[in-house]
Symmetry: C2
Amino acid sequence: MALEPELVARFAGLVGPGNAVTDPDRLAPHLVEWRGLYRGRTSLMLQPETAAEVSAIMALAGRTRTAIVPQGGNTGLVGGQIPDGSGGQIILSLSRMDAIRNVDAAGGIITVEAGATLQAVQDTADAADRLFPLSLASQASAQIGGVLSTNAGGTTALAFGVARDLCLGLEVVLASGEILHGLRSLKKDNRGYDLRNLFIGAEGTLGIITAASLKLFPKPRGTATAFAGLASPARALELLTLAQSRLGASLTSFELSAALPFQFALRHMPALRDPFARSYPWYVLLEASSPVGAAQAQSALAAVLEDALAAELIGDAVPAASDAQARAFWAIREGMSEAQKHEGGSIKHDISLPLAAIPQFMDEAALAVQSVVPGARIACFGHLGDGNLHYNVSQPVGADKASFLARWADMNDAVHAVVSRHGGSFSAEHGIGVLKRDILARSLDPVALATMRSLKNLLDPLGILNPGKVL
Amino acid sequence: MALEPELVARFAGLVGPGNAVTDPDRLAPHLVEWRGLYRGRTSLMLQPETAAEVSAIMALAGRTRTAIVPQGGNTGLVGGQIPDGSGGQIILSLSRMDAIRNVDAAGGIITVEAGATLQAVQDTADAADRLFPLSLASQASAQIGGVLSTNAGGTTALAFGVARDLCLGLEVVLASGEILHGLRSLKKDNRGYDLRNLFIGAEGTLGIITAASLKLFPKPRGTATAFAGLASPARALELLTLAQSRLGASLTSFELSAALPFQFALRHMPALRDPFARSYPWYVLLEASSPVGAAQAQSALAAVLEDALAAELIGDAVPAASDAQARAFWAIREGMSEAQKHEGGSIKHDISLPLAAIPQFMDEAALAVQSVVPGARIACFGHLGDGNLHYNVSQPVGADKASFLARWADMNDAVHAVVSRHGGSFSAEHGIGVLKRDILARSLDPVALATMRSLKNLLDPLGILNPGKVL
């Protein structure tokens, strides 16, 4: 199943000198997912510089029935970007296609190639006095092609939506090698069927995104950040309703955390300080933005929190007194995932739920977790405003990591059963990849699944686009 | 080609008594588009009450190769909802499927059947202290199924997006009769490929939307409305940039009009008054919303307009002094289309452009119009914030209406050529229907067109779903 040297040479001839990587040391970091959970093999990674080169690669892949695995910044969490173990799949890295093709500040549109990092897009927007709102902990490495292919969410989806909502058009190389020229720079465009959204979230299984037109927004002139301590998810939902009714679209983040991941972050990141004098069972990190300035955002947020205190929705609230303190608050939130590593094995769930179902879900899921591994510690945090929870389960204190992680599938099944009972999703923002392929096949509406399979067969009849992922 | 009586009886047996309309008088209003531009024939309209009935209808349609034309409120502008002249197509009216299935105010989601009117959805949201923002002049009749099937836009797309952006999930009956259960009530959900957006904007050619989950928003506590008079579209774009940077997402409408449609509205709607003491070449209607109250919106909008006056972006601005005056301002804007009827024949263009291209487009398109019909009067208005213009052309004063309208295709060609030169779209928010099917086939990226055709063939292999529309 490994790639024949002659085939490697033919593919290598399609890209510029130095852009066909065969050196095992250079290949190695692209063969393993960053947490080490997914590993693959290959003897070739191609780094094309143009959509025309990607087109030539797909045409040859079709003629030779060679599987192509597109890879962006390799920050994905479900294994979608890693080749299988056969050695017969080629990695297609988009990293050299990183140009910012155009910035139209007045029109609110940026056109970028797939290999541009999310950070580069944010920075380019910022330099043009505009905001590209999508924000992920991995944004320094995550590339736009991967962000779109996984339909990433992040902390600003509450006000600005997920990747899908931020994309106006795509350039895509199809399995046939044909190039779909869909880089539309229009806010409204009803010319026929929507093709863009087929490729967004398809994890490279229906086509290779090579460039995208994305929405830009006026840059807020100031933000206000505050942490609140409170008793329960039900109270957090009431606070969300209050904050949204009072702040509207200027409520730009609303992040929930249980006490445990909050404490993990403080314990393992010694530079961070607890903003509160006492501890609370739950915490919410709120951010409000203003087109006028920080003072307006601060007074609006403070008024909400005062009323929330008076209504006993929260026990305490600490507004960030400076930009530095706001960054420190965000560091607690963004450090939760990393800090969890120091607490032993962690079994992850990336779920979403109807908002109203969340309190009940929390109660039932806690029982489900204990029934699988008594003493397991639930480290739940996430984007409450989107109904999106990272429902992570840390091993019991002192337990054996390997035997805890051996219960991964059982734990997933138990938690996802509760999710399903409440009309939720087992894949909110991280995608399907290989991790959730089986559960998708098992649990999705059969008509939807059959339609997805027929779309895959239509757009990739030879099965050369990232095979073994999603479906 | 007319429907056999035996076939009519078989289809009629699939719906409840009285729900199979064969009376020519009752059929008549469903056979003609409201402006009289599109006319068709049929001897049967079915009015199913459940998705299961729609499923049975499609299953029988498949077995008998009978074409089904879904129809909502019959307010469409491109002929998509009207059967052809053969008499062999059945109208499938969704009007009896008008239930509001669920309102989740706290979660910000409303689930409605396809036949619910846009007005009913707005009113239901309002009664739950929420906003469903999509707003069209035809909303009292327009049904959600049609709104989604045409991916309608309207006056609030600037802040809230088009129909596509407001939809979380769909229930769809496929050509096979299978029911796709996709009524997801989740803000984030990455379970496989996005099927929802295939059906949105497909004008009933890929499946029949029977229900939808839609986003609700916190209701603004106050709005401010103002008219500004100004010199040119270039100035209007500068005003837009200023207003967006200062108001952010609270700028909820930004409607441009040339002097002519503004004057038409005042001339033919005698209850309306000109807000200005003198006339201007162009006008902008602005609306700002506030989650706090009208006073906040008014002061924020007034500050923008003061600065715009000082910077000489505008010649004058008139804030609405009351809700009644705000409604009167909107009546001028919403009356433009109707008022144009009194000025003789009108050739319409529903176009969108990159914002920066609009001033140049205006100059070039004016020349193009004059080259086709000297003396034709350009009545251009639209949603400038979305780059979406209704570039309508009224006949020369005193000209013969029929001979002017005979130039429809030539006029379209001339204007669309300028649109195309500037990277714009000939179909911004009204859809393709039969009106723009030829131009779509002629001018779309061939790879995109071929992909759309293969999707149509995949999802409707027998060609029974609204044949002759879109593709």
